[in-house]
């Protein structure tokens, strides 16, 4: 499964993408795994109320399951237009 980062989440982590071989059960489990990796991940995921998540390119909740999912993305609230 690919994990993508955009905007300041990408900048804080330092790269745009990670590859996870064995996905955890839910998005929140993935967040906790990433937080435990390094300080820069912990900083990026310190306040998940400031983040949005997309599962297979659709907006999702943090309790969304990851079974069979190909791509998860984390980013700040969107500012298009």
């Amino acid at each position: 499964m690919d994990v993508l980062y955009f905007a300041w989440v990408r900048e804080r982590i330092g790269h745009p993408k990670d590859r996870i071989d064995t996905p955890p059960a839910t998005v929140m489990d993935l967040v906790n795994d990433l937080r435990a990796r390094e300080d820069r991940y912990a900083a990026a995921f310190a306040d998940i109320s400031a983040l949005r998540v997309a599962v297979d390119q659709e907006l999702a909740d943090f309790d969304a399951p990851l079974s069979g999912v190909r791509e998860v993305a984390f980013f700040p609230p969107m500012t298009g237009g």
């Binding site: 997309a54 907006l59 969107m78 298009g80």
Partner: protein
């Protein structure tokens, strides 16, 4: 429906004319365009990042929703990404309908939704440095009226 995400500039007049020319039996065409603003007087550039793949899908979904809620003939959403300078056009939407009310409302709906639901992020670059534009609560609240 015409959904385009591109780095290249676009010609608002040419796009509006081409869109209008494609319509048949439509009495109203509404267009909106968004322009890079330099509110503080020190903006050098606006950098727009997006999520390739999801962006196009999200914009198509928003346009399809508009088509189920209003009697529109067609919709165009064109949004740029990359590095833009003040007074450049960022994006445009166009809608057509038999009657103006549907065209206006659908265009407003497209704008409200794409601001908060399409994966674009703006970063302002000034002499003092660069900063990501924070989402405004008002933009999120605007969705509740639909």
């Amino acid at each position: 429906m015409d959904i385009r995400v591109q780095t290249a500039p676009f010609d608002l007049g040419a796009e509006a004319n081409a869109f209008a020319a494609r319509q048949s039996g439509m009495g109203a065409v509404v267009t909106f365009s968004g322009i890079v603003r330099d509110l503080g007087g020190d903006l050098q550039a606006m950098e727009i990042e997006h999520y390739p793949g999801m962006t196009e899908a999200a914009l198509s979904g928003i346009a399809e929703q508009a088509a189920t809620r209003w009697q529109i003939g067609d919709a165009l959403i064109l949004h740029r990404h990359g590095r833009l300078t003040p007074d450049e056009m960022i994006m445009m939407v166009a809608t057509s309908a038999r009657h103006r009310q549907d065209a206006f409302q659908a265009a407003e709906f497209l704008m409200d939704y794409l601001k908060s639901r399409a994966p674009f992020w703006k970063k302002e670059v000034t002499v003092a440095g660069a900063a990501w534009v924070a989402a405004r609560d008002a933009d999120e609240d605007a969705l509740s009226r639909w």
